[in-house]
């Protein structure tokens, strides 16, 4: 099989499985228990927290473990705004029109709750303009959430630059209008897709909140991290035994937490080497795909993740392509409506200015550490035949 959908999820690394293993049945204790098995579990959780903190260049107490990327995004967003619910219409939040649904649908909810929401528009490559952000900032802006790298087209946003703009706005233009607290607007980024490839040094990024997800970094599913800068006040999403500083109640997922830390450690170790290797594969694969007539690259040609290629094959539809590849044991993803629950084509491809017909024919290939040039050559061969076969029966004239 050739798995080219690593943006959907990654296989769990064998070393990660090994690291997690003993925390299922052997060291099964509840970290809140004071006796030995509890202390062992607590120790594992805190060691994992320190590992993650070191990789992000932050303090261990700034790392919160959650049940995944979606939960981290929700905790970041609603954790901030729920403190202002009673005066929602007095406040403003900013995000982009190409966020992952975990952020985008949360912001739609903010709109319904009465908050004033600005959706920054991406350009034709999936880039958000810092100038647009600067223009959108207001004295009553509570929260800015901009993804680090896009999950569909892989476009990388200038997070460090945006971080500086927000920091500057906080200090210069704003006279502590929100609760006399100079930490607003708070800056959140969803770094789920960026994590295996881009710089996660918090100091460099200048973010207040950052989301990570185990299942995109060869770790387990249903485990995530929210980095939360010390001075940021959040309200929990739910209440219970006050684990994770009271921000994420519920008995810790000890094996998941151990697995997450191991996974992040492993991707960090190989980051430079993998970036170099995948970049070469990406550019080769892109070049070859674009030799197919009537194909378009979606996203930025350079400012994109090294493992992401997103191409539209005009006049044919993505689900058909996907199923033909599936039959050959090649697994990819599509932005076609026919493959979505909403029956709308990819809103990200549409946001890039493509028409719906082109969005229906968009295909996403996301490589992983197991992807080889041989895999890509086989894929190219199958794709060329598939595209040609489907075009032969397409009602749209080429």
């Amino acid at each position: 099989m050739i798995y080219l959908d690593n943006a959907a999820t990654t296989p769990v690394d064998k070393e990660v499985v090994k690291a997690m293993d003993k925390y299922h049945s052997k060291f099964f204790g509840n970290p809140s228990s004071l006796y030995k098995p509890g202390r062992q579990a607590k120790r594992a959780v805190e060691d994992a927290r320190t590992t993650v903190a070191n990789l992000l260049n932050c303090d261990a107490q700034e790392i919160l473990f959650t049940a995944g990327g979606t939960e981290s995004d929700n905790l970041a967003i609603f954790g901030v705004v729920n403190q202002f619910l009673d005066k929602a219409k007095d406040y403003h939040c900013i995000t982009t029109n190409i966020e992952h649904p975990a952020v985008l649908n949360s912001f739609k909810r903010l709109g319904k709750l009465g908050f004033d929401v600005t959706y920054l528009k991406s350009d034709q490559y999936g880039l958000i303009s810092s100038k647009d952000l600067l223009r959108a900032l207001r004295p009553n802006t509570l929260l800015v959430s901009i993804m680090y790298a896009n999950n569909e087209v892989g476009t990388i946003q200038p997070i460090a630059e945006i971080g500086k703009i927000i920091k500057n706005y906080r200090h210069v233009q704003r006279v502590d209008t929100i609760s006399k607290n100079p930490s607003y607007p708070i800056f959140h980024t969803d770094a789920c897709q960026a994590a295996p490839y881009l710089d996660l040094n918090i100091e460099n990024l200048g973010v207040d909140l950052l989301t990570l997800n185990g299942s995109k970094i060869y770790g387990p599913k249903q485990i995530g991290v929210l980095f939360k800068k010390k001075n940021i006040k959040l309200q929990p999403l739910f209440y219970g035994g006050s684990q994770e500083e009271g921000l994420r109640s519920g008995t810790e997922n000890v094996p998941g937490i151990v697995g997450f830390a191991k996974a992040l450690e492993l991707v960090d170790k190989d980051k430079q080497k993998e970036n170099k290797r995948l970049l070469k594969l990406r550019d080769y694969f892109t070049m070859e795909l674009l030799k197919i007539p009537n194909s378009i690259l979606n996203g930025h040609p350079e400012k994109r993740l090294p493992n992401n290629v997103n191409v539209t094959f005009k006049h044919i539809e993505g689900e058909s392509i996907m199923l033909k590849l599936d039959q050959q044991e090649i697994y990819v993803s599509t932005g076609s409506a026919c493959h979505s629950k909403s029956l709308e084509p990819s809103y990200v491809i549409l946001a890039l200015g493509q028409d719906a017909a082109n969005a229906h024919g968009s295909m996403r290939f996301t490589f992983g550490k197991d992807t080889t040039k041989k895999d890509l050559d086989k894929t190219l061969k199958v794709i060329k035949k598939t595209v040609s076969d489907l075009r032969k029966i397409s009602a749209i004239q080429t």
Binding site: E317, S320, A356, A357, K392, I393
Partner: protein, 138 residues
């Protein structure tokens, strides 16, 4: 008619859908020759994600469909439903052909995932358009 085992959240296609998707019948690969058909219908649009053209050759004496070919832009269920329709109409009268409903096509396919039903079964409309075209051209 939705396959009971093929509920809302299930993406599984039946064997008939897969068979017709992977081995489509009666595709009009090349432009038809003059006189090869006497009716043509196109429905759907690229923007909606489904579009199909269907050609029919109707026997003027018997009013029976002698030949039906097609081209489809769309997902697997759109392709399969047009393919199976082209087999269903062969040899039947145009009076019977215009009575074919999406339900009949889906039944023949052994069911479709629920959310595919509305968007991807356009074949009956394309067929009616082709028959209408035949009648107008008569």
């Amino acid at each position: 008619m939705i396959d009971k085992n093929n509920q809302q959240n299930n993406w599984l296609y039946t064997d008939a859908v897969k068979d017709h998707f992977f081995n489509p019948r009666n595709v009009q690969y090349n432009d038809p020759k003059p006189g090869e058909f006497n009716g043509k219908g196109t429905v759907g649009s690229p923007v909606c994600g489904d579009m199909m053209t269907l050609w029919v050759k109707v026997d003027k004496k018997t009013k029976k469909i002698k030949k039906c070919t097609w081209k489809t832009f769309g997902c697997a269920s759109a392709i399969a439903s047009t393919s199976i329709l082209s087999e269903m109409v062969k040899g039947i009268s145009i009076d019977d052909a215009i009575k074919i409903t999406p339900k009949d096509i889906i039944h023949k396919l052994g069911g479709l995932p629920a959310r595919k039903v509305h968007c991807s079964v356009l074949g009956d409309k394309a067929l009616r358009a082709a028959i209408k075209d035949y009648i107008n051209n008569k």
